[in-house]
Symmetry: C2
Subunit: 411 residues, 2 copies
């Protein structure tokens, strides 16, 4: 008997038929003797419908009310999944984030989960209930409804798994698992049997849409094995786990493309300490995530600071930067919202030299200009023109031999 957290995404619970199918899988797991906590997203596009409704009334919407509104989507699907389980003869109870003990910080729409008080969940499990928990949401210490950002249901699932010390966290999605790259843009993409947290984290952060990065982080932090698998069939998917327990095939595990990026430049700011700090503190205070950063001294002795960010954050970032530009007379702001970021990721690259050189050469050979570069121990990212994103992915996937299976080797 294992204690399992399962998470079903919006597509998996998108229709009455799919909800019944999901219930069947849950009931089957239960009848194998497992204890189950199930995290669900909102049905299909229902969150998008609620967003559209809100924007017709108030744009930008009031954050507190926006969260209260969006949180209803998961409440609907959680109740329906619980009913579908009842209809198949097992007991189930749906809990809101608040009822399940999920306490978030008091920040609307992008809150982090502060802690989970799992008493109610354990109480229901002891009563032989299957516990359905609304993903994507919790309650502030003041008792207000808070959402934790889109895609946050994965995070809800992994953090709940950690809080109740689950044996595994199964993320059911509409894909078979984690691929070497997005199969929709690269037909040669292959499914991976396992991937290290760190690699997945880089891939998730880079826009490989399957998993929310925070959920992988939570898995890494708490040592929760995450099993990403299809809700449509029974075959196993990809295990996200510790690198040390895996055999490695290649220097590079995956290629990722994030194509909804933007680039901003603030030119002609003074070359003195504290300027970059001022800019990025202000962006941080406004909850704008900045990605790659380059600071370069120009011929006239002033600095130019370039960075990339999500397209969605471009408008608020512009407002912040325009305020800051007033402090530095003569400074100018430029931006480009047609940017993509292509990245290669692999724990294996730590031990293999020349990986970066190979990436840059591959892009150059394909006539792709690199605008910014950023690296970590297990990742190299290049900002390029959005129009060249798909070409770059296919070229890199081939160059690093991700389309072929090699004998695994221990790192």
């Amino acid at each position: 008997m294992a204690l399992i957290v399962q998470k079903y995404g919006g597509t998996s619970v998108g229709t009455v038929e799919r909800i019944k199918h999901v219930a069947k899988r849950i009931v089957a797991s239960k009848r194998q003797g497992h204890q189950l906590v199930v995290v669900v997203s909102a049905m299909g596009k229902s969150t998008d419908d609620l967003i559209a409704l809100a924007k017709q009334i108030c744009d930008p919407p009031v954050p507190r009310e926006y969260d209260a509104l969006l949180a209803t989507g998961e409440k609907v699907s959680a109740a329906l999944v619980a009913m579908a389980i009842h209809a198949q003869g097992e007991k189930a109870v749906s809990l809101t984030g608040g009822q399940a003990g999920v306490v978030t910080e008091s920040v609307y729409s992008k809150a982090r989960i502060r802690k989970v008080n799992p008493e109610r969940i354990f109480k229901e499990l002891e009563k032989d209930q299957i516990v359905i928990v609304t993903g994507f949401q919790g309650e502030s210490p003041e008792g207000d409804i808070i959402t934790i950002g889109r895609g946050g249901s994965d995070t809800s699932a992994v953090i709940l798994a950690a809080a109740i010390k689950a044996d595994v966290c199964e993320i059911f999605t509409d894909v078979d698992g984690i691929y070497t790259t997005d199969p929709r843009i690269c037909p040669a993409a292959r499914k991976l049997d396992s991937i290290a947290y760190e690699e997945m984290l880089e891939l998730a952060s880079l826009g490989a849409g399957v998993m929310h990065p925070r959920s992988v982080e939570a898995g890494l932090e708490h040592g929760i094995v995450i099993h990403v698998r299809s809700s449509m069939h029974e075959s196993s998917g990809t295990l996200i786990k510790e690198a040390s327990t895996m055999e490695r095939e290649k220097a590079v595990t995956g290629v990722a493309l994030a194509d909804e990026q933007a680039k901003m430049v603030i030119r002609d700011v003074p070359d003195k300490p504290g300027v970059a700090a001022t800019i990025f503190s202000a962006l941080g205070e406004n909850k704008i995530n900045v990605d790659m950063i380059i600071q370069a001294t120009q011929k006239d002795g002033t600095n130019s600071i370039t960075f990339t960010l999500d397209q969605d954050d471009l408008k608020p970032a512009l407002r912040v930067l325009e305020e800051i530009a007033k402090m530095y007379s003569g400074s100018k702001i430029e931006y480009n919202d047609q940017i993509a970021k292509v990245s290669i990721v692999g724990v294996g690259m730590i031990s293999q030299p020349g990986v970066a050189a190979k990436m840059f050469k591959t892009l150059a050979d394909n006539g792709i200009n690199i605008e910014l570069i950023s690296t970590s121990e297990i990742k190299i990212s290049c900002a390029i023109a959005k129009a060249q994103g798909v070409k770059a992915v296919n070229a890199l996937h081939k160059a690093f031999e991700l389309d072929t299976v090699r004998q695994p080797q221990l790192v």
Copy 2:
């Protein structure tokens, strides 16, 4: 400056445009210097949509999950109304029943409100917020989401008004006020300027759909003046208030038709004490409301017990009665689900003899057979064939001169 509770029904918040219109009215009241607590129903037919969804998955639905599901409808509209108010420049905060301090008994789908802890509401009012509260729901002492029955938003509004000692409770609907009878079936129907709680209570219980009976009861109990008015225009509607403060026009104030009734008969049960008690206790335990009751001794010395009930309760009532019939061998159950109940209501009839006789004669003159009769001090009801309901209403409306205005006279 007054403290006002306003309630907007599902039609009033049925579209984005209507929500904006409702917000405009709320903001106008606020800018007249009033403090406002606004109770909202779910948008238009959204509750019906949720019910249909639930029934596709589990029929009958699991009560706990059904409540959690249906309660999302008001959460959506409350958040949207709050946003619409923000968009018009005033501050508003939406609260769920639980957040607003509405504590219900631990019975799903039909719970009564036990108490209201209005601290949070007062806290928000002090911060100059317009407080939007989800109607139709509260929380059990255990923290589970509970609904209080359909149409319960009126009750939420009046009980909240009592809890915060509001000056008036305004119920905004898609009709102009309370009519002498349903204008859809009787073109001669007239709007009333005021009506006594007791009269309204009878009319509401009798199926005059404008107000939920429990809300009128709550108004009576706590002395809250209820103003039923149109959300579409500014003119005043009908005040529901104490009879003693009103001038009376006629013996009869209104005629009501409830046409979704059923009749049940249990025949050949022993004529001994406790039989009726057994039957009606069992029905009561199953939360089935019974209306008119006749017990008659038959020629063979056994009893027959006839009663009317809502059509919706017929199926569960049949199950209960079949169990009971097993205790009395030879007893038989019959039913008819094509029954209507036509009623005349008026505080004035206390002081005027001959009202009942006039009602029976009017029905007889129109060829309408009376199946059961029940009376109270201010009401006479007759169960008749459903097909004759509309004819009965029009005949009685004319007979009691409800289509003409007379000089008011004090009772």
